[in-house]
Amino acid sequence: MQSATLETWLGRATCRLSANSAAQVRSEIQEHYESARDEALNGGASPTEADRIALSSLGDASTAGRQYRKVLLTAAEERILRETMWEARAVCSRLRWLFPVAALTLCSAAWFFIAGQNYLALALVLMAAGMSLLLAGSRLPINSPARAQVFRGARWGWLAAVVLLAVWPDPLKQSWLLVAVAWPIVWVEWTLFSVRRKLAVDQWPRPLYF
């Protein structure tokens, strides 16, 4: 009966946590519960009373769950992290062919600029910059949070420039479309930001730097 109550407590506290995080919480809370229960039994409490004391010392499960979700990975975060790592393995490791394409795009941009087609030249420069950023991710020694921040700043700058160019000269008119398209990107970036805060830097998988 009391185990079922602890089980309820654990169910609430581990709500929305990833399987690994939930297992960790279960293990440490069960350890704690058993110690509290043993101490209550040694103090002369009946087994039922000891269970009640041990459980009440843990406090509110929802409050603990909220605290846990601030420091441990949630199921959604673990899924995004897994997908990001899959993308890095499946796509980003095969991008060598982008180097000649980026160089060619830059040459074409120069040619269009000389020909007076500045808008097209700018679009091509941005395209080359995007490809260079993709290449840089796997080539440059981005191995510290500070360098990773600079890289992500450059990437966001690039994305903002692309979006501005796409909606220019009337950005407000198409803002609804921008919001709809940008929402999934912002959601993934926000989740990865949260993952970076939760994991110690030495536990960061390589894709988390980008």
Partner: protein, 103 residues
């Protein structure tokens, strides 16, 4: 009494002398405050995880009475943080005492 954000400092203080497990940390805090500082122990572990992520405590597996337990010990960075927190708290406490005395 509510701990109001001081739990990480109290955990570091509890670990300063020797490494121990979560349950003992909670007991030490309660005993040393003569049961004035009471907190819900379910929130102790999230605070421990945060301290561990920040490199202020380290954890390892150990046994007590034949039972497998996770022990925590304070790191060098944790000791430095504790010295800083202690100084800040004493300064803050003196300031509040001054105000409340004159009120």
């Amino acid at each position: 009494m509510n701990l109001k954000g001081t739990l990480p400092t109290l955990i570091l203080e509890a670990l300063e002398r020797e490494p121990t497990h979560g349950y003992r940390i909670a007991q030490r805090i309660k005993e040393r405050s003569r049961a004035i500082l009471d907190f819900k122990e379910g929130t102790l572990y999230p605070a421990l995880h945060k301290l561990e992520r920040d490199g202020l405590v380290e954890s390892y597996e150990g046994t007590e009475n034949g039972r497998q337990r996770r022990y925590y010990r304070i790191s060098q960075a944790g000791r430095r943080a504790l010295v800083k927190d202690r100084a800040e708290w004493q300064k803050f406490s003196r300031a509040v005492t001054l105000i409340l005395k004159t009120a």
